[in-house]
Symmetry: C2
Subunit: 81 residues, 2 copies
C-alpha cells in the first residue's frame, strides 16, 4: 500500500468514479497491490522470513510503499500419496 502521507492519485480517481456512480458515502480510497506467492519453506516462520526479504528486495518500494504479510496457509506437498 502507499504509505500514509504519500499521494495516491489512483485511489483518488477511484473515489471520484465511485462518487459519480452514486457512492458518495466513500470518503477515502487507497489502491495497492495484493501479491499471492506459493513457495516451499521448512516452516511458517521460515516462509515469513523469506517473504519479508522478497518484499524488501523486489515486491515493495520502501520509499513510498509499506507492506504487510497477511496470512500463510500451509499446504500439503503435492505428488505424495
Amino acid at each position: 500500500m502507499p504509505k500514509d502521507g504519500v499521494s495516491d492519485p489512483q485511489g483518488e480517481a477511484v473515489r471520484g468514479g465511485l462518487a459519480m456512480l452514486g457512492h458518495a458515502q466513500v470518503s477515502r480510497v487507497r489502491v495497492g497491490r495484493l501479491i499471492e506467492l506459493e513457495l516451499d519453506a521448512a516452516s511458517e516462520s521460515a516462509a515469513r522470513e523469506a517473504v519479508t526479504r522478497m518484499a524488501e528486495q523486489l515486491l515493495a518500494n520502501p520509499v513510498i510503499e509499506q507492506f504487510r504479510i497477511e496470512s500463510l496457509v500451509a499446504m500439503k506437498p503435492q505428488g505424495v500419496i
Copy 2:
C-alpha cells in the same frame, strides 16, 4: 485477483525476478489489487452490500477478475465527543 486460468504476465514477471534474486523456491506468483475503502454505513452488512455493488460496478473487471471483501473494521464517528 486474476481469475484462475487467466494468464497473469505481471505475476510471472515477478516470479522471474524473484528467481534471479535467489528465491527459486517460489513456484507461483499472482498479482492483483488491494483497495482500501473508508465509507459511512448504517451497519456492517449494509457496508458489505454497498462494497459488493462497487466491486461489481467499477472496482473489478468481472470478465477476468474475481474479488473478495476481506474485513470490515467499524470505526467510531469522528467529531463526536
